[in-house]
Symmetry: C2
Subunit: 449 residues, 2 copies
């Protein structure tokens, strides 16, 4: 349904600063670029044609060295807001008291584990702590392979699940020269803009069944279906509530596990529910968590059905030195508390809807904006050559992203063709910020077309 127009490396380049030249940058920024090139190497990518030199951040604002403030409508790591005082206080306090691995007992770590698991369906009552979403996805793959005896994984065409060797193989969006191994089957993302909503569940499930058959024909047993319920890297496709159900049934009938990657949709972002999979009324076998979990403190986790973890644990070990340490647990608990006390899930739903409506209304009559979709504070805005042909327009997306950056608002792109604007602000993004966003968007659209 989508056709790759360019390699991932090429697409990334569109929204990237060209590291080969510092021409046109102010001297301080040019010096930082030079120091980065010397230490990180020449291929380390910076966002935006004019990269950001950031010195501090607060709430939904980043401050550049010159004093300019920039509205953050891109970052989901500082999910409850940059430098949120609750997390700052929790980390600063705990790091002075105790910070060590989990081979000893600590009250605070179990309190966090209990509080986190209480937000999930009762069947998911065990947790394995890690340090990143990548480690979580990697452990989920190890567990699924061990538990099913299979090695096959099904993922969507431009999925991103992380950066380890194993997870890169199930992350087709990763810029990688390595060939895709035969145990990975790729299905189209649920492209509701081109497919429509009718028959979405059936089409998606048919594709999953085809993938299972494809793996079988190669002699590969299915281990799992790994999906982010909002299909972030594919281009932000929330689809309809429950459409994943038939596909997951097909996966389970083939002996595979349903692994929900909640790194992006989790922790209230999609507005209606705390977890993305809940929008489908599903209970996954394994849930992957990462980015927003500690508001920037490096932490991740894997929630599992207890019989699965016990089965795996009886045959193999897993220990993560920094995972679930007392400081991570303090940060995580502050995030859960703040989500509740500041009503951030409700804000994601309400402000998300307001922002989506505002973008749609800006784009009305504009033939380059084909679709505005999303759930909560996670929106995808599809740039096309024209609405009739629906051909992806990555250059327009790039113009808008950099035009917004010049107007002091940060967004990014997604999708296999790099033509979909990704709008994914911290959940502390309120209506007043949406208004600032919409002014910039309106001005950018007018000057880009």
């Amino acid at each position: 349904m989508t056709s790759p127009l360019a390699s991932p490396l090429k697409i990334l380049d569109l929204n990237a600063f060209d590291m080969r030249s510092t021409a046109g940058l102010d001297p301080a920024t040019a010096t930082l670029v030079e120091r980065r090139r010397r230490t990180f190497g020449p291929t380390s990518m910076l966002f935006y044609k004019r990269p950001l030199n950031v010195v501090r951040a607060e709430g939904v604002w980043l401050y550049e060295a010159g004093g300019t403030r920039v509205l953050d409508a891109y970052n989901n790591v500082p999910s409850i807001g940059h430098c949120h005082p609750a997390v700052v206080a929790a980390v600063s306090r705990q790091i002075g008291i105790l910070n060590i691995h989990t081979r000893y007992l600590y009250d605070g770590v179990y309190t966090y584990a209990e509080r986190l698991l209480a937000t999930m369906p009762a069947e998911l009552s065990n947790i394995v702590f890690t340090c990143t979403g990548s480690e979580s996805a990697d452990f989920a793959m190890r567990a699924a392979r061990g538990l099913t005896g299979g090695t096959g994984f099904i993922v969507t065409a431009n999925a991103y699940h992380g950066n380890t060797l194993a997870v890169t193989e199930v992350s087709p969006s990763s810029a990688s020269a390595e060939p895709r191994p035969p145990n990975v089957a790729v299905i189209p993302a649920p492209d509701t803009y081109r497919w429509g909503l009718d028959g979405l569940a059936a089409t998606f499930a048919d594709n999953v069944r085809t993938a299972i058959a494809e793996l079988q024909s190669r002699g590969i047993k299915l281990a799992g279906f790994m999906a982010d319920s909002i299909f972030s890297s594919d281009g932000v496709y929330p689809g309809t509530h429950g459409f994943l159900n038939d596909a997951v049934q097909a996966v389970r009938a083939a002996g595979g596990l349903y692994i929900a990657d909640e790194v992006q949709p989790g922790f209230g972002r999609t507005g209606d529910t705390m977890w993305g999979f809940e929008r489908h009324g599903l209970v996954p076998d394994i849930v992957i968590m990462g980015k927003p979990m500690g508001n920037g403190f490096p932490m991740g986790g894997v929630a599992m059905k207890p019989h699965l973890l016990a089965d795996f644990g009886a045959r193999a070990g897993y220990f993560n030195t920094f995972g679930g340490n007392p400081v991570a647990s303090a940060a995580g608990l502050a995030v859960l508390d703040t989500l509740q006390s500041e009503g951030l899930q409700q804000n994601a739903r309400d402000t998300g809807e307001y922002l989506r409506d505002g973008i749609a209304s800006c784009a009305k009559g504009n033939d380059g904006i084909g679709d505005v979709r999303g759930a909560g504070l996670y929106l995808g805005v599809e740039c096309v050559i024209d609405k009739t042909g629906k051909m992806p327009d990555a250059r327009l997306a790039d113009q808008i992203v950099n035009g917004m950056r010049e107007r002091g608002v940060l967004i990014g792109t997604a999708g296999i063709n790099g033509n979909i604007l990704k709008v994914r602000p911290p959940l502390a993004f309120r209506r007043e910020h949406a208004d600032i966003f919409l002014d910039a968007f309106h001005a950018t659209l007018r000057s880009s077309l």
Copy 2:
């Protein structure tokens, strides 16, 4: 040269608390064990027959809930000392100012990168930041595969390099039911206790050459030789300065890379040098860093020769969301500053020697302690049935570890047979702490035999 007497799971059990029963524990500890079992699952291992319920830590001391203090002679994560004020201040300050990924520019991150790279040979002038040693080892494997076109790895018989799917395959010490894949060749650790020091370099290099031939016979091209220069999990074998040289030459002659895992020996622990590989006068192609880097803040890194990173980066991408963020960089810089200002590398050398001599003198005339070896503050003490036969005695090691714990001193075990005491305190461990250790060791030895 060593023969596996038991599976890794069995050996771990020896030094582990039995999660099935809380009998004999005080009520508060029993409750924590129960909460842990409910959230982490029944197979999550706790150290010691009587697990620790820790509420705070400072320097080389852990404090249990009842108020007892325990001397830490085991943990290398809080390398400059538990809750060191320099790291506490740096993290608390930076987390309130800015904490975001490296797609933007920040002065502090490059300052840290420059300072860290300045401690290495000039050839290693590029850095990739990660969040854990496991992520570092995983990236090193991805890079080595991409750069050499090979998939073969050589590691020692009981090596541990991390917990991802790929790294578990090159970590024979991991408790795992998965069979070892054909691209991994295992060589004996440099068991100087049984081999002696004469001909160490030649024997070790011969084993590496045999492993290369073995991989070739399976049609597998060598990607790399991955080794921790003190062979921690194998049983702490510092060997003689330079003995790795011949082996590394053989690896390079076969087109492979030398990947130095510095998670354990790095950051001054071995006393003579900042980095373990420096003891051999070698410059690795890739250096893996983890645990002690941020004194407990989750961070890791991979130092590389710049042409290798550029080659890899031209064909594949790598991005780590939390890796090298401003807070991690602040923690890392505080660690480097403190290593210097408190003379911790020199202390590792001096106190390490004092402690090694003290242990050797305690063990004199004791037929169960076959060897006391180490470099800096990293010692291995080998428990044997008797000195003539040199047969590993895991039960004695377990008795000593738990006997020391009952006397308020924490140590662990290592080695394929679980019979080697691992003594690896924070580098803030001084002569006065060594004296406390030696009193407990003396008393434990007397009661264990």
